[in-house]
């Protein structure tokens, strides 16, 4: 099943959280599978992680599929690490965010 690509803006902070939520909601409403892409060098904070997690839960409960085009890296990975998300990951979380990548 082909995924609908959704490229998010380069600033993924709390100031832009509301429109990002709308983008995600609209994409998941229209498409069965959505693939999210974070632009290279994008800015991110905890509100983005919360939003993507919320979207992941939304997709699960509505029988849709949400994925990331590439494993979290750069600023997004930094937020996950500093925020303590990588300490006790469940497999689904690890699969989604890191594409099963092991933490060194």
């Amino acid at each position: 099943m082909p995924s609908h690509p959704l490229t998010l803006p380069s600033t993924l902070s709390i100031r832009h959280a509301a429109p990002i939520r709308e983008q995600l909601l609209a994409a998941l409403e229209k498409h069965d599978a959505v693939e999210v892409e974070f632009p290279d060098g994008c800015e991110a904070d905890l509100s983005l992680i919360q939003l993507i997690e919320a979207a992941r839960r939304h997709a699960d409960t509505h029988g849709k599929r949400l994925s990331l085009k590439t494993a979290a890296n750069g600023r997004v990975f930094d937020v996950l690490e500093r925020g303590g998300f990588l300490s006790e990951m469940d497999p689904a979380f690890s699969q989604f965010w890191l594409h099963r990548k092991e933490i060194q």
Partner: protein, 671 residues
């Protein structure tokens, strides 16, 4: 409704922090080992740094970090608080203000210069490298205390308020600070994140559990949360005390929700307990001053409209209209009174800043100066407070520089080497009296006279009363200072004081005793917005006399009027009170009413009667400024709009009393 600009919110918060830090530093000067004050200053600096970093004031955060580090060392007993350190931090604080006002300005040179002073004050090369980090370095946590014998393991659980991120708190920054304390394992609880349809994107749904092994004490962990602690859930539990030579801190079984440490509790005694603080913040609303001004204008317009309604109702036979008019009058009066209370601020907010000024002046002049304040709770309209600041600065500077003698001179005169300046405020009728008193050398009248004669202000050998002579110091360009200093002596300032007090419809009184000191009293109306007035008629014009100055009203019979011609005194309970015939003063040209009235007004102990044709009654007076054309008309302090749309001029009580005194002196001199 407009939301406030977050940057402006920070600036307001920073201003309060600066006040708190400055007050703590100045208190500390009196007792350099006062741990409570040391803690208070540290907390203020820490909060300023943290808030600054959150709102993007990186330069401020980086610079403040160094001051915070210096005080952290004092707090931990590594260095002593000294007057040099306090002076350095006070100076640094002025720089922080500049960093808040102009965050993108070129401040590096000044930063380096001040940090060098700070470095020297905390022990130079032997001390902690307070200036060893580049100024541009981002705000980092305070340097750690020397390692203790062993580490302790802690479990820290915390959850910030829902709106934490929206308010600018960065949870990642807090986690980073915890990492700085020691070995950390951080896990996040994301279980409460709702689905995408339900999520509020600005709400924080996360909580954290951290296991931390650190040599730092419990208080160091609390310090991480110091400026968010009031509203958050925080649990810090010691899980293991490794082989330590020191007893473990008494934190073995902390309660589930953050219990303030002794240190935090102490802060609570200064600023109110944490709960009380939360409650207080819920009960108080911060309102920009311009909104209050706007509301005041609206109330002013309402009072004028109500006045018009009352006038229409009074000539109407409609009982219902009269009833409604009375209700509106009552309500607008109550609204006005409430509004006036909202605008009143304690004069202590003004006095607070003079502690710093006197401290700096003492250092600059090499004098020892003690500042005493009294009546800080006296309330005055906020506009008056704002406009009083500059005149008071001039007067206090003058007292420090010219008034107080150097310590040697004081000793030689048999005085204490420490000079004293007293700032006091009290209410009297509708005025606030602010007094600046020093115990210095007093004003040298011979020098004042010589200077005034030399500058052509008075004729040689002119006969002047003592008050008239002393008032010469408020003339433009007047100065008796032998040498020009940084502080004063340029003849600029005292005339500005006079001008400002005049615009506030106030008066200045000077008392000075050679060798004992001087006292300058400023009498200022409590408000500049709306006053209760007594509406009177003189000829065909109507005038308002501020009700607070009115003592009584008498009838001036034709016989009394005839009898007193040429003397203009009335006998009032065995004392003679001079009076002014306003008809003559205003040259109305019309015939006087057969039964004229005398309105007796006073300022302090001075009284004068004003003869008017008719007393119309009390009147809520919305004060409007006179046009620039009429700015120099001293008899009137403003104007107001009456209910019928006519304009009535407001009489300047201070000026009229002065005129009355002059008339009295003239008549007495004439025998």
């Amino acid at each position: 409704m407009n939301t406030m600009d977050p940057i402006q919110v920070f600036r307001t918060e920073a201003a309060e922090l600066f006040e708190q830090i400055e007050s703590g530093l100045l208190d500390l000067l009196h007792d350099l080992s006062n741990q409570d004050q040391i803690d208070a200053v540290f907390r203020g600096l820490h909060t300023l740094k943290g808030s600054g970093a959150m709102f993007g004031f990186e330069a401020l955060a980086a610079f403040t970090h160094h001051c915070e580090s210096a005080f952290d060392r004092v707090r931990k007993g590594e260095v002593q608080a000294t007057s040099e350190l306090i002076a350095a931090v006070l100076e640094a604080q002025d720089h922080m203000k500049a960093l808040v006002e102009k965050p993108n300005g070129d401040h590096d040179d000044m930063s380096q210069k001040l940090l060098a002073k700070l470095h020297a004050a905390v022990g130079g090369k032997n001390g902690h490298a307070a200036t060893s980090q580049p100024v541009a370095a981002a705000a980092a946590p305070a340097p750690l205390a020397p390692a203790r014998a062993a580490s302790t393991n802690w479990i820290i659980k915390f959850r910030l308020p829902d709106n934490a991120m929206a308010n600018g708190t960065n949870p990642l920054g807090l986690l980073d600070e915890l990492r700085e304390l020691g070995e950390c394992t951080i896990t996040v609880d994301a279980s409460t994140i709702p689905g995408l349809a339900e999520i509020d994107p600005t709400t924080l749904y996360l909580g954290w559990t951290i296991t931390l092994e650190t040599e730092q004490p419990h208080s160091a962990i609390e310090d991480v949360f110091i400026f968010v602690m009031d509203d958050m859930q925080l649990e810090i539990t010691e899980i293991k005390a490794a082989a330590s030579t020191e007893p473990a801190p008494k934190q073995a079984e902390p309660p589930p929700v953050a219990e303030p440490s002794a240190e935090k509790k102490q802060a609570a005694t200064n600023t109110g307990p944490a709960d009380a603080k939360s409650n207080k913040s819920a009960e108080n609303v911060r309102v920009p001053a311009e909104r209050l001004d706007e509301l005041m204008d609206r109330v002013g317009e309402l009072v004028i409209a109500q006045s018009r309604l009352s006038q229409l109702a009074n000539i109407s036979a409609n009982i219902q209209l009269r009833s409604v008019s009375e209700d509106v009058e009552r309500l607008s009066g109550e609204l006005r009174d409430t509004m006036m209370v909202l605008r009143m601020v304690p004069v202590g907010s003004l006095f607070g800043r003079f502690r710093r000024l006197v401290h700096d002046l003492a250092r600059e002049t090499g004098k020892t100066i003690e500042l005493e304040t009294e009546g800080e709770t006296t309330e005055v309209d906020k506009t008056v407070i704002e406009r009083l600041a500059d005149p008071l600065v001039h007067l206090v500077r003058n007292s420090c520089d010219h008034g107080l003698e150097p310590p040697d001179e004081r000793r030689a005169a048999g005085k204490s080497p420490q000079g004293r300046i007293q700032l006091s405020a009290r209410q009297q009728a509708g005025e606030v009296i602010i007094t600046i008193k020093d115990d210095g050398r007093g004003i040298n009248r011979d020098r004042v006279r010589a200077k005034a004669e030399a500058s052509g202000l008075i004729q040689p050998n002119a006969v002047l009363s003592d008050q008239e002579l002393l008032q010469l110091i408020f003339q433009p360009g007047f100065s008796t200072a032998q040498e020009v200093t940084n502080l004063s002596g340029r003849g600029v300032g005292m005339d500005v004081v006079k001008r400002t007090i005049d615009t506030l419809r106030g008066t200045i009184n000077v008392v000075s005793h050679p060798g004992e000191g001087s006292e300058v009293s400023l009498s200022i109306p409590l408000t500049l917005a709306i006053i209760d007035g007594l509406l009177v008629r003189v000829g065909n014009g109507r005038y308002v006399i501020p009700l607070s100055a009115v003592e009584e009203c008498l009838e001036l019979s034709v016989e009394d009027d005839m009898r007193s011609r040429g003397r203009s005194f009335i006998s009032l309970r065995d004392s003679l009170v001079p009076y002014l015939r306003l008809r003559e003063l205003f040259r109305t040209g019309s015939k006087p009413d057969p039964f004229q009235k005398v309105v007796v007004i006073s300022t302090g102990s001075e009284r004068v009667g004003l003869v008017v044709d008719q007393i119309i009654g009390d009147h809520q007076t919305v004060i409007k400024a006179m046009s620039k054309l009429h700015h120099d008309v001293a008899t009137f302090s403003g104007a107001t709009i009456l209910g019928d749309g006519d304009v009535a001029l407001i009489l300047d009580v201070g000026h009229l009393v002065l005129e009355g005194q002059k008339q009295e002196a003239h008549l007495r001199a004439a025998g």
